[in-house]
Symmetry: C2
Subunit: 342 residues, 2 copies
DNA sequence: TTGTACGCGTTATCAG
DNA sequence: CTGATAACGCGTACAA
């Protein structure tokens, strides 16, 4: 069944005017008499006329839509970012088209292929953990599609980027564990190919080095799909706990990994913070309500969305080619609670 | 700056053909010679030609986009529903345009006004808690816009609806509290105007009646904005705790209210489940990891999204006017944990 | 003050 | 086999 709506032509016919007169009357052009304007406006209201945005888009070569690509919508961090993006976009009169990669490069390719064939005016993206080939993004970017990266940014592509100051966040978190007498601090990270993974691990290493603790690669584990595959966190956690000298603390380097780890520790009845100390990325309010309450590195997700959207619109609305790009780095909140203090 | 892409016309010019020939060649029409087809296809690939979806939309009177309207994206329940919707939509080759009402009728009006001026082929909506006037939705619906309601459905409008079996969920939850010797069971609900609020309270009343407990209106409180306004949950909770005979258990009738209540109880250091028993709607995995773990009524959110989307596409793709509508009622999972058993 | 014609990108129809 | 033209809905330069 089709959804039919009135057009300018319908109004013109009904009122015995030409379409251009109607068009001008509706846009309140000075060339149209008040009498005609009134007739047109009254009739338009009566039949509830709305201009067809598709026709406008075709004409103006813009869609008033932006695309947002994230790994998973139902992830607190991403949904908060989307919240921020939507808040700005709706004020600007733009639609927000959401897609999720589920951490798959293939899906990401499909989405980009699909979205960017001119159905969006700009793109805000956090790449999937599998993505290592940025050529399609690069191609789109060099063709003039405005792109803003957030969270999982692509170093090679020169455009606006909004990230958390991952290094200091993790540095601070790790340092805190060290000061609380944890001796064997392990890290569970997202895919090693992600830029943010590298940054976060830098923070971890920096804290260890500054406190003369040796960096032991055996204590660093990766989840290629950021914990989205059900068993990957469980596997690396088992590996860690099976070490001869098993770790006494964990730094969890992504939201999903934090959630999964907490679930597994609870299930295995491992005592936090005594048996193992925990601090990790999380944007869930529930971490404060748990017992023990969970120490977290909290990203300014809503703000990140707002800033990303604002930067994107500055690109979209810019008349000239922008060559000066911003790298916005937001300080995370490192919130110390019970899970990291024995 | 604009994002320019190649068109059929560019190909035609470059190859010295007419646009119609190029169009047909690309669509592999039988009337075109293999040689020409090959030339066109090769060149199209070379310049990375993609048909302009906006032009297609104008011609075909469809946008391959659906609109999704929820109260708040960053709410676990809604983000899980959106996840389900997106999963189906992406398979069907549809874009998902997301908007949030933030529980405001005014915003909902704006969104509908905007979205439905032919930029979407169908709408999936859970109305805002403020919405009492459904005339715009009704108008859109009777004009032929396919609509599917989920969660907060509109009784008056005849179309597909997907809901949780709210009554039995709450009935079962309340009965469970009664069987666990709770005597003064209060309920905190979303706006009294919402259909689901009525249903949920029916479940509450039914359980009380069946166990010969008197229904005391003083023990039922409402949050007009579903807990989105920061202080509303705190206020009603204070009122309840100030009752001469204060309640010894709470049934929390929406996700947001459950989260807020748990936060406040923790803050006030009120002992759960002894001082007060808790069971409430929640779709957050964290409820299982809290201490005490929280008993919940869990909606099948992802599934609800999948079903809503499937039903919507059946409407969108239907050739004739559909008059036979489904009301899908999904059984919630009532998960009994520690917070409701003293 | 109002109307005609064109173009945005595409496909369908009709001509050749 | 290929090309010209109309149409989708709109806004605007140009004509009247």
């Amino acid at each position: 069944m089709k959804f039919e709506a009135a057009t300018i032509k319908d109004i013109a016919k009904a009122l015995g005017l030409s379409v251009s007169t109607v068009s001008r009357a509706l846009r309140d052009s000075y060339e149209i008499s008040e009498a005609t304007k009134k007739r047109v406006r009254d009739y338009a209201r009566q039949i509830n006329y709305r201009p067809n945005p598709v026709a406008l888009s075709l004409k103006e070569k813009r869609t008033l839509s932006i695309g947002v690509v994230v790994a998973e919508i139902a992830n607190t961090f991403f949904s908060q970012v989307i919240n921020g993006i939507e808040s700005i976009a709706s004020k600007k009169g733009y639609n927000v088209i959401i897609s999720q990669t589920k951490e798959s490069y293939e899906r990401e390719e499909q989405i980009l292929e699909y979205l960017t064939s001119r159905s969006i005016d700009g793109l805000i993206i956090s790449v999937s953990s599998e993505t290592e080939d940025f050529s399609r993004l690069e191609a789109l970017h060099s063709k003039g599609l405005p792109i803003v990266f957030f969270d999982r940014v692509v170093d090679e592509i020169k455009t606006h980027k909004v990230i958390t100051d991952n290094l200091s966040g993790v540095y601070e978190a790790t340092r805190h564990l060290i000061r609380n007498k944890y001796k064997r601090i392990a890290a569970i990270a997202n895919s090693p190919t992600l830029f943010i993974t590298k940054e976060r691990l830098e923070g971890y290493k920096k804290a260890l080095e500054e406190h003369n603790m040796i960096y032991n690669p055996a204590l660093v584990k990766y989840c290629a799909h950021g914990g989205l595959e059900p068993e990957e966190v469980r596997r690396v956690l088992s590996e860690l706990l099976a070490e001869k000298q098993k770790p006494d603390a964990l730094v969890l380097l992504s939201d999903k990994i934090t959630t999964e780890t907490l679930r597994i520790l609870k299930e295995k009845n491992i005592q936090v913070p005594n048996e193992i100390g925990i601090i990790g990325f999380s944007n869930s309010d529930y971490t404060s309500m748990m017992s023990p309450s969970v120490s977290i590195i909290r990203q300014r997700a809503f703000e990140m969305g707002e800033i990303s959207a604002t930067l994107l619109f500055s690109l979209v609305e810019s008349k000239r080619k922008v060559t000066d790009f911003e790298l916005v780095s937001l300080a995370p909140e490192v919130i110390i609670r019970e899970s990291s203090q024995k």
